[in-house]
């Protein structure tokens, strides 16, 4: 069990393996899209790990990447369709980044490194916790960027008007992708400093 929990901190996909950074920069300007994106990646990662693990002995090694892509694409399209039907507003904010989950290195990485050589249940858990590890960073970055960039959290104002009358201003840079990169970089820095 301890091994499965590693992606949450010790072996976090974003801040230790630096995978999946692109989407982490793109969707974290606000908390809500970040949470939905994290959930989407977790679902896709867990279930494609499960399916690939179930059929792992029947997959011809020469076309295993093709098979993996077909399975991952299946889940991504499924998630995208559901978001468009039930979370329309958020799916518009995420725009192309839901489709781009297909190319998220975390998912392909877990399929290659874990699901192809392990039983279904451990594979499912491995996918689940890697997705959650990714989500954890997204949520952390999303909270900081939304509060400092727009003064809101989940769309609700959290900073009282008093701050603004005292001359406080929202940090416009927080809304832009470069600031996400700096924040993720800072997380990596803190992580490395603590581990060495």
């Amino acid at each position: 069990m301890k091994k499965f929990l590693e992606p949450l901190s010790k072996n976090n996909p974003i801040i230790v393996q630096t995978l999946g950074v692109c989407s982490a920069l793109a969707v974290t300007a606000q908390l809500k899209p970040a949470v939905v994106m994290a959930a989407a990646v977790t679902v896709v990662c867990a279930f494609s790990n499960l399916i690939i693990s179930l059929i792992r002995n029947t997959i011809p090694p020469r076309i295993r990447i093709v098979v993996q892509l077909v399975v991952v694409s299946f889940f991504v399209i499924l998630v995208d369709q559901f978001l468009q039907a039930y979370l329309y507003e958020t799916s518009k904010m995420l725009s192309v980044f839901v489709g781009l989950i297909i190319t998220n290195c975390i998912i392909m990485g877990r399929l290659e490194a874990f699901a192809l050589s392990h039983k279904p249940l451990p594979s499912f858990l491995d996918g689940l916790f890697n997705g959650l590890g990714y989500g954890l960073v997204l949520v952390a970055v999303g909270v900081v960027r939304e509060v400092l960039g727009q003064g809101t959290l989940w769309g609700y104002p959290v900073l009282s008007d008093k701050f603004y009358t005292l001359g406080y201003m929202n940090n416009g840079l927080m809304v832009l992708p470069p600031m996400a990169l700096i924040l993720v970089g800072s997380l990596i820095w803190i992580k490395n400093a603590r581990q060495s």
Partner: protein, 200 residues
Amino acid sequence: MKFSNRYIFLYISVLVIIVAGTLAIVSLVLRPRQEANRKGETAARILKAAGYGALSTEQAVALFDSVASPITDSQTERYAIVCSDGDTGQVVYVSGKGLWGPIWGYVVLASDNNTIKGVAFSHKSETPGLGAKITEESFADSFSGKKIYNADGEYVSVVLAAKGNSEANAENSVDAISGATITSKGVEKMLYEGLKDAGK
């Protein structure tokens, strides 16, 4: 384990057929809901521009059908609409180009075919926080009450001027979005082209 070519072809074919079949079914099942979402969103935004305030998608679709009717003899998408103040105006669909992709929107004109009651812009892929601000309320609100003809009766549409310069010609201009020059120019051009025939 060694796999024959025949096995590989069969394997991938069967897999793809299963996946494609399942996705087709899911898409068919979810499509009505997705289309209702899109339709409801457009209706809600047009109604907001016409002064009806914020509505849920279901309310919006019902209300839109009762207050708006398509103008059929027009080349572009247009509706006659009874605004919240009782005035019968028209909704004009406009479309153009932003920085990264298409932008489009609906402009609600009052019955004098000159005053803008409200606008609702959308975009495909403008930069979040910059060009994407054209969809925000504060930007849309700045268009209310603007005129597309100047004091001499000439068609000028609405100009997006740099901040501070818009007061000089307050009737026909709004503040552009700083940091999003190309999107702002795109909006300006879209309005100019799109409203040209609407005012007559």
